[in-house]
């Protein structure tokens, strides 16, 4: 039972990071299709930083730096130049795949993976209960989500973020610098989502091509299924992670084909959007550019 919970936690951490970023971005009105790309960039930069410095902490800093850089490019296109958020969002993900592959060849002369990089603890210890609890990124994941919730509902900045996502014109009319708030929110989402990728790279002690494997979209599914509310989104992240853990643990029994377990987050999201039980309603100005 304890092993099950710990494994669920380990799987949930990248979802928590990315979903926290997704909440900030979407509540500010910027569609978070880019989480996957931010994660992948973060994972690659973390592997790069950790490899060349020998310290996972430098890896964290490098990963966040890469994620923020990607986020700023996204903000430049969608906020400064008011380009369509969906188009640029999709392109950002393609860009992350291309750029990480290109520099994987350039830096490590490989098309599949980086060499082993320092992470937190040895690989054998890290997968155990103690190793998981000793990994600072696990704690950071839990704290990040709580911090996002607190910021969103308890600080003036959070109020501005929500205003920018719901009624940007009204916010602007009372002096909220909507564009600047959105810039900050997208940058923050880059920080959070890239940490999810950083966790993956340092946990597996290497970067592998396309290692985020759709986790950014599962995080987006969690954001929508959790109705853009940090508490519910946290529950959704753990729910999706628990389903995955079950699937891994029951794999030997072959009760349910793994493909059906993979579908769970996506099916639930579509059900939530269709409004069969408690319709998910997105921020009113999501996807809407401001002048």
């Amino acid at each position: 039972m304890l092993a099950f919970l710990v494994q669920t936690l380990r799987i949930a951490v990248p979802y928590l990071f990315a979903a926290a970023g997704g909440i900030v971005s979407e509540r500010a009105g910027i569609i978070a299709l880019t989480l996957e790309g931010f994660m992948l960039t973060g994972a690659f930069c973390a592997a790069l930083g950790s490899f060349y410095s020998g310290s996972p902490w430098v890896g964290i800093v490098a990963g966040v730096f890469g994620g923020v850089l990607a986020a700023l490019l996204h903000a430049l296109a969608t906020i400064r130049y008011r380009a369509d958020q969906v188009v640029v969002g999709i392109a950002m993900n393609l860009l992350a795949v291309g750029v990480t592959r290109f520099f994987l060849r350039l830096a490590f002369d490989s098309s599949s993976n980086s060499p082993r990089v320092p992470g937190f603890g040895g690989a054998e210890i890290a997968s155990g209960v103690l190793g998981t609890l000793a990994n600072p990124l696990v704690w950071m994941g839990l704290i990040t989500m709580a911090l996002v919730g607190w910021t969103l509902y308890r600080t003036p900045f959070g109020l501005r973020v929500r205003a920018a996502g719901e009624k940007p014109e009204a916010a602007a009319s009372v002096g909220v610098p909507v564009r600047r708030v959105r810039w900050l929110a997208v940058a923050l989402s880059g920080v959070c989502a890239s940490l999810g990728g950083v966790y993956l790279a340092l946990d597996q002690h290497q970067f592998t091509d396309g290692m985020t494997a759709g986790r950014g979209f599962i995080a987006l599914a969690a954001v929508i299924f959790g109705k853009w509310d940090p508490k519910r989104v946290t529950i959704a992240c753990f729910l999706f992670a628990a389903a995955e853990t079950m699937q891994i643990r029951l794999q030997a029994l072959q009760l349910v084909p793994s493909q059906f377990v993979e579908m769970i987050p996506y099916v639930l999201t579509i059900v939530a959007l269709a409004g069969v039980v408690g319709r998910a309603v997105q921020p009113a100005a999501l996807g809407k550019a401001v002048d």
């Binding site: 369509d84 188009v87 999709i90 592959r101 996506y266 999201t269 409004g275 997105q282 996807g287 809407k288």
Partner: protein, 389 residues
């Protein structure tokens, strides 16, 4: 003085100049941005940009095999590009072309496996084509109906559906249909299409096949549908102003549902190219991103069937060209370039337009960006020519 008064002529000339500026400047700016990024990447890798571009062209349009491969890839991209373009014309963003394409190919393979080998060629081909359209259309129906009935964002639904459908197809193939030790089905019994290489040395050794003709015919059909039929007029009206269209008597929900089904069917037809024309079986992951590239194709092709065909050739050239230059620079460079082209076009086109408009001291066209859920009309970001024909 006979004919038009001089100021009318001047005005017409002025309008022509503006139209040319508007259609040439934005892509030029986007292309320049992409070229600069491409040069930087090539220099980073320690190569000479000129040499890389020369090899890229030589490996694609410069020899029969490369040319044929470009044609083959452009064929699939034409279908997915048309699928995305049709959706955008109706104000819908179909990001599900990837899974619709896979479902179409899967359905075509199923049909080809189910019919007896003695079926006359033309009938077998027609059955498989219909199956492909139905397969893709069925996947497209889900976001279409959910959008029409519940207002569910088709962007999210199609993204989520990509994962669901691809996982489902994986399951069917892996557990029931695959030839042992592979990820593909048996070869279809009937319905194979001829390779162009068998007819002309122009395509020597390449995968290009008769599906090319189907792609061109379908592009023509989409043009005719959009600009020459009542349904197409309604579709465009819904895309530009759903509220006005509704007020004018168009049943917007029906148009959305119908458009997504047709869009899915178009993407599904792309599966023909691989299943009937190339390998003659369904293989996991045969789409290889062609569905997502369809978004780029539609965007660069400005959602016009003719533009889509041209843009499909452009991106097919990039994709095939990546393989041609792989010895000099990683082929992943073209993935980066593709993304940069999309971002540059999405950013530069509206921006240059605004700048042009501002320089003519007009009201900059910026006031009508709406949230996509409340007003799904293509935001002014999309280069939708409003007064075609």
């Amino acid at each position: 003085m006979t004919g038009t008064p001089p100021d009318a002529t001047a005005e017409r000339r002025q309008r022509w100049r503006e139209r040319i500026e508007e259609s040439i400047l934005p892509p030029l700016v986007a292309l320049t941005i992409a070229a600069v990024v491409g040069d930087l990447l090539i220099i980073t890798f320690g190569q000479a940009p000129g040499e890389v571009y020369r090899q890229l062209l030589e490996g694609t349009w410069g020899n029969a095999y490369g040319f044929g491969q470009v044609i083959y890839k452009a064929t699939t991209l034409t279908f997915t590009g048309l699928a995305v373009a049709l959706g955008i014309r109706a104000g819908l963003f179909n990001i599900g072309a990837e899974s619709q394409l896979a479902a179409g190919g899967f359905a075509a393979a199923l049909a080809g496996l189910a019919i007896p080998g003695a079926t006359p060629g033309i009938i077998a081909v027609i059955i498989c084509i219909v199956a492909a359209a139905l397969g893709g259309g069925a996947v497209g129906a889900v976001p279409g109906v959910l959008r029409a009935r519940f207002g569910a964002s088709e962007v999210i639904v199609t993204i989520m559906l990509n994962f669901i459908v691809l996982a489902l197809l994986n399951y069917f193939v892996a557990t029931h249909l695959a030839v042992a030790e592979t990820l593909h089905t048996r070869e279809i019994n009937a319905g194979k299409l001829a390779r162009l290489a068998d007819m002309s040395p122009l395509f020597s050794g390449s995968a290009a096949n008769m599906t090319l003709l189907l792609a061109i015919a379908v592009a023509g059909a989409v043009w005719w549908y959009l600009f020459r039929t009542r349904a197409g007029y309604e579709l465009r009206a819904v895309g530009l102003q759903p509220d006005a269209a509704e007020y004018g008597g168009v049943r917007v929900g029906n148009v959305w549902a119908k458009t997504m089904i047709v869009s899915g069917a178009l993407a599904g037809l792309g599966g023909i190219n691989y299943v009937l024309g190339y390998k003659h079986y369904y293989e996991e992951g045969f789409g290889a991103g062609s569905g997502f590239l369809g978004i780029a194709v539609a965007l660069v092709g400005r959602n016009h069937p003719v533009g889509v065909v041209i843009a499909a050739l452009l991106f097919a050239t990039l994709s095939q060209g990546g393989l041609a230059v792989n010895a000099l620079v990683p082929k992943q460079m073209v993935d980066v370039l593709t993304a940069v082209v999309i971002i540059a076009v999405a950013t530069a086109v509206p921006e240059v337009r605004r700048a042009l408009a501002a320089s003519r001291r007009r009201e900059p066209g910026t006031g009508n960006r709406e949230p996509f859920i409340a007003n799904p009309g293509p935001s002014s970001q999309f280069p939708v020519p409003t007064s075609q024909q």
